[in-house]
């Protein structure tokens, strides 16, 4: 068998495979999601306004995170949660489906002892590759996923070298859906003053053998 014969055999073997889903079903599903999205945007805008008002009324400090008591931080919002743990680590959970305000998350992490710079659909890396502190990063961040699909990170602030910060780039649902990269969140550890180069294209997944 030459190459064309092999590929022809593959093609022929699938000749009887047909898509059975009617187009009306797809369109109905798309319309329904569009309606939910519009309704969700309206509710989200109302909630965001409510949260902003709550912060303005309840918080004595303008830049304080939503909830903080002493050195302990336990902030639970629709988009993310941050909890300090007794061993000094910080657990961060992110729910991708919700829109996330990077400034609120950044302030909350800072309160928990984690200096961070958060961007949405924008990814940065140090212009000088030697400032990408990957070895230290491995000691600082452990991650995982819960059964419900929620992303979980356990950050050890004490393992961060002085004058460094985490840079975290997040991808919202539906952003560049045709990108070959499946990455949702990209994190790096860099010096505070490291010049950064940023892009709005989802970074490629690191090469693998498969």
């Amino acid at each position: 068998m030459n190459d064309n014969d092999v590929l022809g055999a593959v093609r022929d073997a699938m000749a009887e495979v047909h898509m059975h889903t009617p187009v009306q079903e797809l369109v109905a599903s798309g319309r329904s999601r569009r309606r939910r999205r519009i309704a969700g945007t309206a509710v989200g805008a109302t909630l965001a306004t409510g949260l902003a008002l709550t912060l303005a009324i309840d918080s004595p400090q303008v830049n304080a995170p939503p909830v903080a008591a002493g050195n302990q931080v336990h902030v639970h919002l629709a988009a993310f949660s941050v909890d300090t743990n007794p061993d000094g680590t910080v657990t961060v959970k992110m729910t991708k489906q919700e829109s996330l305000d990077p400034e609120i998350m950044q302030r909350t992490l800072a309160q928990a002892g984690v200096p961070a710079q958060i961007t949405i659909n924008k990814w940065c890396r140090p212009s000088d590759a030697s400032q990408d502190l990957e070895a230290d990063f491995q000691k600082v961040v452990g991650d995982g996923k819960q059964p419900d699909g929620t992303s979980v990170m356990v950050i050890t602030p004490s393992a961060m070298p002085p004058a460094t910060k985490l840079i975290i780039g997040m991808r919202t649902d539906g952003y560049q859906p045709d990108s070959p990269s499946p990455l949702a969140v990209v994190m790096r550890l860099v010096p505070d003053d490291a010049p950064l180069t940023c892009t709005t294209d989802v970074p490629p997944k690191p090469a693998s053998n498969s």
Binding site: A9, R11, V17, E25, L26, P177
Partner: protein, 167 residues
């Protein structure tokens, strides 16, 4: 007008997209679900997708990206239940040669994706490379390795069938 365009695109490309995704996933029902999901997203962003240089490649790319998320969720849930493997018999469809699915499943994922795009979507090397985010030379190398492996598997199947007919 837009709806008619989308419907026409769906009728023309749905089977090819399904075959491409089936060749990659090896699971008939999952492939149909993923392709339906990708077409639904295409309908929601039809103005953008209709201007894509290869909209059927967009569909397959989105279906396979969705697969990554679903697979991760399923793997986690399966691991908690104490089962590590998907039942292969449940993955086969009645309308596809099971020997071919077995041969495709033996290929590494990237090789399956290259075969899917080149054979079922008839993409040229450069478009397949852009769709997968890899170099054109890598597409050629993957296709060459995949064809070599498939040739061996398909020759074995043919030889077994010939022996069976003689007995």
């Amino acid at each position: 007008m837009e709806h008619l365009e989308f419907e026409e695109f769906y009728q023309e490309s749905r089977d090819a997209c399904l075959r491409a995704v089936l060749a990659t996933t090896g699971d008939r029902q999952l492939a149909e679900d993923l392709v339906a999901e990708a077409f639904t997203r295409a309908w929601m962003s039809w103005r953008k997708v209709s201007r894509h240089p290869a909209p059927h490649a967009w569909i397959v790319r989105v279906a396979l990206n969705t697969r990554v998320t679903w697979w991760r969720r399923r793997r986690h849930e399966v691991a908690l239940g104490g089962h590590d493997a998907v039942d292969p018999s449940a993955a086969d469809g009645a309308d596809v040669d099971p020997a071919l699915l077995v041969a495709l499943r033996r290929l590494p994922r990237r090789q399956r994706e290259v075969v899917a795009l080149r054979v079922f979507l008839d993409l040229d090397t450069d478009t397949a490379a852009r769709t997968l985010g890899i170099a054109p030379g890598t597409v050629t190398a993957h296709l060459s390795r995949a064809v070599a492996a498939l040739r061996g598997d398909l020759a074995t199947v043919n030889s077994q069938e010939a022996n069976g007919e003689r007995q």
